[in-house]
Assembly symmetry: C2
């Protein structure tokens, strides 16, 4: 119960539909649907992966599913501010899948240096397993988006990373720097991590930098 692996009712329904398990390379539409439903039930777990950022009423930490939705909307809206030319819909898709690997690998706090040592290894294994639940062509599409995001080299990946930093920055500011103070993150580290927003959008960093300077002035972000 509750474990995806225990969802016999999915298999039962597909067996009644008369579809044997897929043979390599010859998935029909019903075989594809079976894999797609398995993936959709599996990624429900992203709703239970807590991040370090509070929702803006400060009542609780947000989770990965909420964050990916928020980032996806930000992509559609903010793509026009990217340094390079970025397709809003493709950027949105990149952000809608960017943290799915954390279902297996867990959320690594952006200020956690130790956690970042084996982050790539853990997340690559997760990408293989989770995206691998999908039909091959769709697994490849999602995996390519995630690989591009992780590599951080294209204009789209840089803009995605900028959005991935901007949202927690705004949300932390909205709750008077709660995450920063709880984890003892000082202004120099916040500026260092977030200045990379400029790689995606100098326009957005011009604004975000002023938000951070205001946070220091108001005591929501501490210098030491």
């Amino acid at each position: 119960m509750g474990e995806t692996s225990g969802m016999d009712w999915v298999d039962e329904a597909f067996e009644e539909l008369g579809v044997a398990d897929d043979e390599e390379g010859v998935l029909g539409q019903v075989g594809r649907l079976r894999r797609q439903v398995g993936f959709l039930l599996e990624i429900d777990k992203a709703k239970s992966i807590a991040r370090r950022t509070y929702v803006t009423d400060g009542s609780r930490l947000e989770n990965d599913a909420e964050h990916m939705w928020h980032a996806m909307l930000a992509a559609l809206i903010l793509a026009e501010h990217a340094n390079g030319t970025v397709d809003p819909m493709r950027l949105a898709c990149m952000l809608a899948v960017h943290d799915i690997v954390e279902i297996d690998a867990g959320d690594t706090f952006v200020y956690d240096t130790a956690g970042h040592a084996d982050k790539a290894e853990r997340e690559t294994a997760a990408a293989g397993r989770i995206f691998g639940l999908l039909p091959l062509d769709q697994a490849d599409q999602f995996r390519a988006l995630w690989d591009e995001f992780e590599a951080g080299e294209t204009d789209a990946a840089k803009m995605a990373a900028a959005i991935d930093r901007l949202l927690p920055l705004l949300m932390n500011r909205a709750v008077d720097g709660k995450t920063w103070s709880e984890h003892g993150i000082t202004a120099d580290r916040v500026f260092a991590v977030n200045s990379r927003i400029a790689d995606g959008s100098t326009q957005i960093w011009d604004f975000a930098r002023l938000v951070l300077e205001g946070a220091v002035r108001d005591g929501a972000l501490h210098e030491t």
Copy 2:
């Protein structure tokens, strides 16, 4: 604190950037960013709108932000099963915004006949206010997607409605029909509401119907 209207730090940062409030029709890029940031902070509230569906580990109700993310991914993956030809990315955008109006209008349970009497009126006012926070062109884009979803006439809108029904159906089945039994929703009503999945995708309804029949057989969904 916590109220978007109380986020003076956003205004302060934009005033420092030297941008006066926008004049009608002459929004520059910074004026646009100001409105976009306001929208992004406002829609954070969707993370606090509870639905009637439990996450698949049964621990709590899911919220609108999580649901929109899940539905958006389902759109990208399942668009190929639509009765008509549907662009996956556009379908994903439609589902990524479809419940934002509930920030003002609240979630109306699909089996709540009384709540549906004034649902359209409440949600239309909400769409005007919330999408209206964006620059005009983006407000119009999101509003058009939402209007199309609500009208339910295009192939994309029918497929979006199918996905909007399929996910809670699967999630309810995964927790042994918890929402159905808590609200005393009988099988005839569940079949009536969900048979409209066939308007978007007969292929998906063929599968979903078997899931529901299995739920009745296993006692997760009651006939009376």
